[in-house]
């Protein structure tokens, strides 16, 4: 499976600010995804990061709040904009290869918004 890294590992931010999370994969992958896991909750898909085009967002998530970039097949960023304490979560990127249904997750970013 691919080796996935995320930066930062954790951060504490003030409300109203924005944070960009990076996801780097050691090989080219077709599918990249961003998830959120709020405290005590399970994983919820935010969006699919599409290379060369706009991300596909799930119901309840919008581009203005969670802009995503995918400049190539090994890298993506998720920005959490105008943060509020409700955005305190673990943010995870995941990848899946062509023809496979298995997603592998990055190490996650733990975000706390004060």
């Amino acid at each position: 499976s691919a080796v996935i890294s995320q930066k930062p590992s954790r951060d504490i931010c003030q409300r109203g600010t924005s944070l960009t999370i990076q996801c780097q994969v050691d090989s080219q992958v077709t599918m990249m995804f961003w998830y959120r896991q709020q405290p005590g909750q399970s994983l919820t898909l935010i969006a699919t990061a599409n290379q060369g085009s706009e991300a596909t967002y799930e119901s309840g998530f919008v581009i203005d709040k969670f802009p995503i970039s995918r400049p190539n097949l090994t890298f993506s960023t998720l920005t959490v904009s105008n943060m509020s304490p409700e955005d305190s979560s673990i943010y995870l990127c995941s990848v899946a290869g062509d023809g496979t249904d298995t997603q592998y997750f990055g190490p996650g970013t733990r975000l706390t918004v004060l």
Partner: protein, 111 residues
Amino acid sequence: EDKVVQSPLSLVVHEGDTVTLNCSYEVTNFRSLLWYKQEKKAPTFLFMLTSSGIEKKSGRLSSILDKKELFSILNITATQTGDSAVYLCAGSTSGTYKYIFGTGTRLKVLA
């Protein structure tokens, strides 16, 4: 609405015990059922199940899927303290790569 339900929500056992974790699902255009182990932040892949009745096994862990009853179980035998984690199951949807996750079972294994 698609959903995945796991039970129990939490479980405390002693080392050496055998545990069975349950996952039921209602997923439109169901493709596969996946199990993950989450110890800190990152879920680690355990199994992917697509066919009914075929057990997948890895060491002390095994899992099976029943597509008629929309159900899967994860068994862990001879538990160790290192098995302490949250175990997540997810249903995937054909054609979208979308996963629907359950809320997880928190397992604590006492020495």
